[in-house]
């Protein structure tokens, strides 16, 4: 899917086995979810992702994704692929219902869940912004959502996973790989895992948003299983890569 000769600028040969494709898969999963929280769904992007997700379960699992994530992703793709001609309108309605005219306390901002004041721009906003800064990036001007919006945080994970997929396979680069995964673990640990599962439960509690229920299940599965996997001791995680599967 990714043309490495155009995108990889490391000077050492790439690792031959799973980590790269696994990270790519995760990057795409995070990026897709980010886009689904970012704005009204773009069906073409969903379609492309669905094609990717149609790989066999074995391939997906070998890509470092947990069974719950694999299953949730497939359910999501199936639902969105089989939607009738009104799907596009339904998705727009669900997006607005959940995120633009909020019901049931569905607020896609970390500050609302983890801040002391439960409003926008609370401490988590400062913390996540600092996290991005330490990672060498900041939100673009064209991005209207604040940094602790779920779309931006998931987008950041996509970015980190994508960087991971481009780490080299040399022993010198192992440290970089470990650091890359550690950054993801820390971001999940310090931010996403603290509030996104709760957000997802709130989404699932809104009856009029059946398609986004699947997005929510996919999101929470990915985050929770990714968090569990990345929380393994670094050596163990590294070894699983060398063994080619989890």
């Amino acid at each position: 899917m990714i043309e490495r000769d155009q995108t990889c600028h490391t000077t050492t040969p790439r690792r031959a086995s799973q980590p790269d494709s696994a990270a790519e898969l995760r990057a795409n999963a995070y990026a897709l979810l980010s886009s689904l929280y970012q704005d009204q769904p773009d069906r073409a992007a969903v379609q492309r992702f669905s094609t990717l997700w149609s790989s066999s379960d074995t391939t997906l699992a070998a890509g470092g994704l947990g069974q719950r994530t694999v299953e949730a992703g497939k359910q999501f793709c199936t639902a969105w692929q089989t939607g009738d001609g009104k799907l596009a309108l339904q998705l727009r309605r669900e997006f607005a219902l959940l995120f633009l005219s909020p019901l049931g306390g569905v607020h896609p901002f970390e500050s609302v869940y983890c801040g002391t004041r439960r409003r926008l721009m609370d401490e988590p906003w400062l913390e996540v912004r600092e996290f991005y800064r330490e990672a060498g990036i900041e939100k673009g001007q064209q991005e209207l959502h604040p940094e602790d919006h779920v779309a931006v945080e998931l987008g950041f994970m996509a970015y980190l996973a994508f960087l991971e997929s481009h780490c080299s396979t040399s022993s010198a680069a192992d440290a970089a790989l470990i650091e890359a995964t550690d950054t993801q673990r820390r971001f999940l640990d310090e931010h996403l895992i603290r509030w996104v599962p709760q957000l997802c439960r709130r989404i699932e509690a809104v009856p009029a948003a059946p398609y986004y229920h699947r997005v929510a299940r996919f999101t929470s599965a990915l985050i929770e299983e990714d968090h569990a996997r990345l929380s393994m001791p670094a050596e163990q995680l590294h070894n699983t890569w060398k063994e080619g599967s989890l």
Binding site: T7, A31, L89, L100, R119, D122, G136, G155, F162
Partner: protein, 747 residues
């Protein structure tokens, strides 16, 4: 973190396989081996810190404030110490505005309804649309209405606004409605007739008064900043305070004396006072002789209003009325403060007469535009919008209004409209149907007979709503235009509640807009453009308007922005007004203007419209809690923590006689409707009264804090037909907001 040599462009390219492009698009990559230059970096934290000047947009007092910003977010709001209104302080609502700014429920993008049914419990099935789509959809609906039913089939429900007024005039509709008929129109009518001025005649020099006599005036309870400060100051300095009110309010608890008068009878109390003060010659002869007109004729008309007569009506001892009249007449400065929905507000069919008595009594003691009295604000003289941007010729509206407001010659020219009669017209389609409407920050909860008003809205084919929050009005909209919160906007304010000398307060964006919002002027311009009326705003801009207005006053927009305290002031010694814009050139105690238009030229006694009956045995009172501004702040987390829901406030003994306990749910019913809420027991309220605070009972599920807390007392307020309103012969066309009675029973 060490990064690869991956650039943003390459990341985007590589991610083209999936929606990763969208995610990556959120970021700039710094510190990459090949940094990108196509996107300018954001401002740094250093440039996002510091203090910004603004003035409060929550109420019309517009207290000047300063916002302390750190790392790009607003940390604290403080009063501007050089502001003559707030004097360095804000009220609880002002301090809490930061919560509104960062309210996650705020409207974020234009929305369009896809569900044709409307009303409580119905999901509008919004979809996000672009601004262009929102303008186009609105313009198509407006133009279709004009084509099929004429320009008068468009209605604007909005406070006056230069841009909106021009679009209204270009369309040629007479139907522009504001909230004043439910708020202070009676005071306005009296001041226009008797003093020839005063759209909002509520500037008070309370701090210097020695005797304060309040008829339902309760600004400390409403946390009206300058009034609360001044009241505390006055009583701390030894001023005597007497509060005449059916309920013991915050003002009353700080007063020397509370007189629990029978609701709607303040007029009788004041008429008796007028008679005593004139007959006993307690008035300020110099002031009355030099500044007023018609004392003799007034004196002749009030001779029947003895204290004994007033006592029977008010339930207050004649001796008390006499004593209060003498105290008021002999203490200088003495003042009857007024503000909007006090005893002279549009509560009862006789309220305009009470407002008239307030002007007369304040005139008798020389308290009009004198230190310690009621002051005419020294507002800056701003060049009007139409003088800066001369309008094209617009046709006069060809039809009468749907609410009959032009039938009231004193206030009709204000074009403020009548909330209590408009429902009938919308429902019946007579004299003609309204096919499209634009609402701005007027919520359905604020209308008399609110549930019926919601039904009436269903008759309108297309409704556009401009708002900051997903209010109930938004739930009725076809297209929603999200506006920024005032802390995200620019401008300046010439305040009118406390201006001893002209002063202007700067409003800078304290923080950048959080979402994709537009100011009201921009929204109106966009609609006009899409309607093919773009020429009416050719060359028009806010920045030009502000600069022209400020330059005409000897400053400029740039100078105001450079001001070290965010204020422009023209301090002058206070010189009392000696001439008034009335036919006599004086304050008319006998109003020739009222007489000319067929109203009683003096405030003769008239009973209020409704009295307790077997079916509805309680007088209805409506108030507002200190921490809320009408129905606009119930979603503020901080204010909700201190006052989450309203209640039916009853006298403890009376409630217990009825077997009611604190917190028990009850039905309160009027001839208009019924609501369910908890009962709150107090000692300080007459046994024959029920008081409910306004602003609650939000049914918009998108207001996640305010939703379903308490009940809307507006459902109890009877609406009026145009004929009923005209028959009341109220020059202010007040909506009789509390002129009805209620029953209470356990739920």
């Amino acid at each position: 973190m060490k990064t690869t040599g991956l650039s943003r462009r390459e990341f985007l390219k590589a991610s083209a396989a999936a929606a990763a492009a969208g995610a990556a698009g959120s970021f700039l990559l710094h510190g990459c081996a090949r940094p990108e230059t196509e996107v300018e970096p954001q401002r740094t934290d250093e440039t996002l810190g510091g203090n910004r000047f603004s003035y409060c947009g929550i109420c019309s007092a517009n207290c000047a404030m300063m916002g302390h910003v750190a790392a790009g977010r607003l940390i604290q709001l403080r009063g501007n110490p050089d502001d003559q209104v707030g004097r360095g302080k804000l009220c609880v609502k002002g301090y809490s505005a930061i919560k509104d700014l960062y309210d996650p429920d705020r409207l974020k993008y234009p929305l369009m309804r896809t569900e044709p049914r409307k009303g409580p419990g119905i999901d509008p099935k919004w979809v996000k649309i672009s601004w262009e789509e929102a303008f186009q959809k609105t313009a198509e609906s407006f133009n279709a209405a004009i084509e099929s039913h004429g320009p008068e089939s468009i209605a604007f429900f909005s406070r006056g606004h230069d841009w909106m007024n021009r679009l209204r005039d270009a369309i040629g509709t007479p139907n522009h409605l504001m909230h004043h008929s439910t708020c202070f129109t009676t005071h306005t009518a009296v001041w226009r007739a008797c003093l020839g001025m005063g759209n909002r005649p509520f500037m008070l020099d309370i701090a210097r008064a020695r005797y304060l006599l309040s008829f339902g005036w309760d600004m400390p309870s409403k946390a009206k900043n300058m009034s609360a400060q001044d009241y505390v100051s006055a009583i701390s300095n030894g001023a005597r305070s007497v509060v005449v009110d059916p309920r013991l309010t915050v003002t009353g608890t700080m007063a020397d004396e509370w007189i629990p008068i029978k609701p709607g009878t303040d007029l009788a109390f004041m008429l008796a006072m007028i008679r005593i003060i004139i007959n006993e010659e307690l008035y300020d002869a110099d002031f009355v002789n030099s500044r007023t007109y018609g004392l003799d004729r007034l004196q002749a008309e009030v001779q029947n209003y003895t204290p004994q007569w007033a006592s029977e009506i008010t339930g207050v001892d004649a001796e008390v009325i006499t004593r209060i009249a003498r105290e008021f007449g002999t203490t200088r400065p003495a003042l009857i403060p007024n503000h909007k929905r006090d005893a002279g507000g549009p509560n009862y069919s006789n309220s305009w007469r009470a407002a008239y008595c307030m002007v007369i009594l304040n005139s008798l003691v020389g308290a009009i535009d004198q230190p310690g009295g009621q002051i005419v604000p020294r507002r800056p003289s701003l060049k009007p919008f139409n003088a800066v941007f001369p309008p094209p010729d617009f046709p006069e509206p060809r039809s009468e209004r749907i609410d009959g407001f032009e039938k009231h010659p004193i206030v009709g020219p204000t074009r403020r409209g009548d909330f209590s009669t408009v429902t009938d017209a919308l429902l019946s389609g007579k004299p003609y149907p309204i096919k499209a409407a634009l609402f701005r920050k007027h919520n359905v909860l604020a209308f008399p007979d609110a549930t019926r008003f919601v039904e009436a809205l269903k008759k309108i084919d297309f409704i556009a709503v401009c708002d900051v929050w997903p209010s109930e009005m938004v739930q009725m909209a076809d297209v929603v235009f999200p506006e920024p919160y005032f802390l995200e906007t620019s401008g300046f304010g010439d305040r009118e509640y406390h201006e001893f000398y002209p002063q202007i307060a700067l409003r800078q964006p304290v923080v950048p807009p959080l979402y994709d919002t537009k100011g009201y002027g921009g929204i109106i311009s966009g609609i006009a453009d899409a309607m093919g009326l773009g020429h009416i705003f050719e060359g028009v801009s806010s920045s030009t308007l502000w600069d022209e207005q400020l330059k005409a006053m000897g400053t400029s927009w740039q100078q105001l922005n450079d001001s070290p305290n965010g204020l422009w002031s023209d301090e002058q010694p206070f010189v009392p007004i000696t001439e008034f814009d009335t036919p006599s050139g004086r304050i008319e105690l006998y109003s020739t203007v009222f007489e000319q238009h067929g109203y009683d030229p003096v405030p003769l006694w008239q009973e209020k419209r409704e009295s307790p009956s077997d079916r509805y045995p309680f007088y209805m009172l409506i108030s507002r809690p200190a921490m809320h501004k009408m129905s606009s702040t119930q979603n503020n987390e901080l204010m909700a923590q201190t006052y989450l829901e309203n209640a039916a406030i009853m006298n403890r003994s009376m409630a217990r006689q009825m077997g009611l306990e604190q917190g028990q749910e009850v039905y309160v019913e009027s001839r208009a409707g019924q609501i369910k809420l908890k009962v709150q027991l107090e000692e300080g309220i007459r046994p024959d009264c029920v008081c409910i605070e306004h602003g609650f009972g939000h049914w918009s599920p998108s207001l996640t804090i305010a939703h379903q807390n308490g009940a809307n007392e507006g459902d109890l307020i009877p609406h009026l037909s145009i004929e009923e309103m005209v028959a009341l012969k109220d020059p202010g066309a007040g909506a009789c907001m509390t002129d009805f009675c209620v029953s209470v029973r356990p739920a």
